[in-house]
Amino acid sequence: MFTRKFIVVFPVILVCLYSSLMLEGLASNGDVATLAINQAEDVVASAYEAVLGAEQAGANVSSLIVQLNDAGEFLAEAHVAYRLGDFDGAIVSANQCSAIGESVESEADDLRVQVYGSRVMDSWLTVAGSLVGVVLVVFGSYWSWRVFRRRYYREVLRVKPEVAEAGS
């Protein structure tokens, strides 16, 4: 008796459960797409800031910009797909955008650190070079001045005064 009831009721429960899960899935798909797009927006914005940091440090960021533009295309596609109600397409595009954005951000950070290190080294070399130059110029000038002064006095002392008669 119990088995027969179970055989009748169980498929009904399964169908109800499946339908409710499907409805919930459809409803939440839009939310998932919104989340994915928001996350992709944040990732691209962070990547852009990292690229800008690398650029300001003096790095060549052309290749990173090209990669980030690919991410931007995916993000634009995600927005368009979302407006058209294609939530799955929006999620796929947003995730592709996030993946590229994260990679670009990491590359930009590495590049910035690398360029910053070499720039600090260059700055030290420049400061040291300038300092050595200034010291050499100061000492060189002082030494030249002293040599000049000694020769000048020597020349002045070597000159013998001659007495000339008035009217001669």
């Binding site: 690229v51 800008l52 931007g72 058209l84 400061v127 200034v134 110029v137």
Partner: protein
């Protein structure tokens, strides 16, 4: 004389270090360009009289002269004759929703350009009103739902396709309208 000469040489020797610490102000004010070219990549032959299911091409471009790399969005919007355009005097964008968009970064001193194709997909004309429901933009069918009334003075149904330039602001961490837009007028042909 001797001292002055030495001072000049000292300054020359110290110039590289001074260059590291003395900030040099940027000359000029930063700006961005936004342009629209016709199908032959010239500022002529823009699509005007358009029919249903025919594809039209324009090129949209942005030039960056802001002093550093910038992150831009170009929002593509579609309006009839009465719907609002961006407010140039108040730097406000058009309140219409964007139908399509481009997102990209441009290095300072460089430009970005892209082909933009559009095709009217779903148009209905009833009496003195025409309704455009759907337009394919770069191959993507976009819903617009825009109704235009018959313009007796200019003898046609008129729409405008325009492109707004938005710029990412790092401080507010969002895009702001950059007070630039370009557009083309479109006249629905009878066919």
């Amino acid at each position: 004389m001797f001292l002055a000469g030495s001072l000049v040489v000292v300054l020359i020797a110290a110039a590289p270090t001074l260059g590291l610490v003395v900030p040099f102000p940027r000359s000029g004010e930063g700006f961005s360009e936004l342009w629209l070219l016709g199908p032959n990549h010239m500022a002529e032959d823009y699509p005007f009289e358009i029919g249903v299911d025919e594809e039209y091409r324009v090129f949209v471009g942005v030039g960056n002269h802001m002093g550093c790399s910038e992150y831009y969005t170009v929002c593509v919007k579609f309006r009839n004759q009465t719907e609002p355009l961006p407010d140039v005097s108040n730097s406000e964008p058009s309140p219409l929703p964007s139908v399509y968009e481009f997102r990209f970064l441009v290095v300072d001193g460089e430009a970005w350009e892209s082909l933009f194709t559009f095709k009217l997909l779903d148009v209905s004309v009833q009496g003195d009103s025409a309704s455009v429901s759907s337009i394919a933009m770069n191959g993507v069918a976009c819903s617009v739902d825009s109704v235009s009334m018959w313009d007796a003075e200019n003898d046609g149904f008129y729409y405008q396709l325009f492109f707004e330039l938005w710029l990412y602001n790092m401080t507010s961490q969002r895009f702001h309208y950059h007070n630039r837009f370009v557009g083309i007028w479109l006249k629905l042909s009878a066919s």
